[in-house]
Symmetry: C2
Subunit: 277 residues, 2 copies
């Protein structure tokens, strides 16, 4: 396994790879969700590159960039076991040299949900992903459905800028009780961890209502809200039922709609979502 | 010579090219300046792609998008003679489909000179050039020094976003009397055309002053201004002596400084520049 720390090292490693290349962009502190992306890339490509980079530009001023969990040694061990070909692990100034001044902005689909709560977040995401795609030049890149809006934004950027690769979205991996895997779950106290199951339970409730014929989006949102509000540790940021491509909020539930929510537990913000079948 | 009108046609033509590929992005209405770029690309690459696209997003509301000169048949004849391999000639909605929403913004170097006079201009330039690079995937792309700030912006975008290609800047081609070639020269009345020689004459004056040891940038700017103001048809937008990489205005002339100016003749705005040796 090659560990590249500079752009030049990564480009050299890339040029030595033969056949199709898959990229799994991560912020490290890997869990089973990331490993599933790596396995999928391994199955679909001749070679797999994993990037580990806690991207400063997608964190707002009051957010958790400094304390975002990091464990590079453990990450590398996991990736080695999966026979990852290359790990790209740059320092921040490799990606953002002092005179860096170019930004990729996806408008409209970034204005709502996470984009409304975290101004500038998706500009940071789009810019770093654009750079990673240019450095690694993958044939396919793999993203987890857990960050539903990020998936929409990355696919829109690739389509709008005609980037020559395919984006593959992989289903969310969950803990046995239903909690979506996330590096930020480590922030939860034992009580918050137990309470956090309410996100996936509210999605299950929505799924059951829709399976039972409920097409009124407000009724579904309200049922979810009422379920979550019964959990005293949970504070809802938003509950959304939106068009899967535009993220416009829906009046009527439809196929491929994305039901997503952000809920705070103390200082920890958790996301989850499902796509309507 | 293949003429590609859609992204799919262009990608197909690109995949059939062998060896290194040069791209010459143009807005058509080709003159000797463009043809020099094409010849240079031919000399340095196995195959050459020329794009012809009058990019609506780099024109402001009051600008000349609608009346920008177009002569696609003549352009194609010229490119055929030079044995161009592929011409990419998309319609605006091929590049900007209705739901298009992603922009590439280069900050700072776009704030002054053309960027100050034409807000949004360089966002349009950076975005369309980014897309052309992703569609054509050239090894090298060729730009004329005549649009000095555009050269700086494109190089900065490529460097900041780690785009996998080299930008080649080619010297300005001039008419016998010194006027820099530009598709917009066609707008000039015979009297304005004669008066327009004042741009290159003012640059020659600056060159002579600097060769004579004048390093005070303000003295050079003032001498240029005074020369141009003696031409009653000429209205100066700006005269700049700036750092070649940052475009910060200089107090002292130095090597690689860019002396650039924009001057209006009636409704026609002309640019010219020189790099200090």
């Amino acid at each position: 396994m090659i560990i590249a720390k500079t752009v030049a090292e990564m480009k050299k490693a890339r040029n030595a790879l033969k056949g199709s290349v898959g990229l799994v962009p991560t912020m490290g502190y890997l869990h089973e969700g990331h490993l599933t992306l790596v396995r999928r890339s391994k199955a679909e490509n001749m070679a797999t590159v994993v990037s580990i980079f806690v991207n400063p530009t997608q964190f707002g001023p009051g957010e958790d960039f400094g304390k975002y969990p990091r464990a590079p040694e453990v990450d590398l061990e996991m990736l080695e076991k999966l026979k990852t070909d290359v790990v790209f692990m740059p320092m921040p100034d490799v990606i953002y040299p002092p005179e860096f001044n170019t930004w990729v902005t996806v408008e409209k689909v970034t204005e709502r949900l996470e984009g409304a709560v975290r101004p500038g977040h998706f500009r940071g995401v789009a810019t770093v992903v654009n750079k990673l795609f240019n450095i690694v030049r993958p044939d396919k890149a793999y993203f987890g459905q857990k960050d539903a809006q990020q998936c929409v934004v990355v696919k829109k950027m690739v389509s709008d800028l005609n980037m020559p690769l395919e984006i593959v979205i992989v289903s969310t991996v969950r803990e046995p009780d239903g909690l979506a895997m996330s590096s930020r779950n480590v922030y939860l106290s034992p009580e918050e961890r137990k309470a956090a199951v309410v996100l996936s339970r509210s999605l299950k409730l929505a799924e059951d209502m829709i399976a039972g014929g409920e097409m009124n989006a407000d009724k579904v949102r309200e049922a979810m809200r009422s379920l979550i509000n019964r959990e005293p540790r949970a504070f809802i940021d938003y509950i959304s039922i939106a068009d899967g491509a535009t993220l416009d909020e829906l009046i009527e539930v439809k196929k491929d709609a994305v039901i997503s929510l952000a809920v705070r537990f103390g200082r920890t913000r958790l996301l989850d979502n499902m796509v309507v079948k």
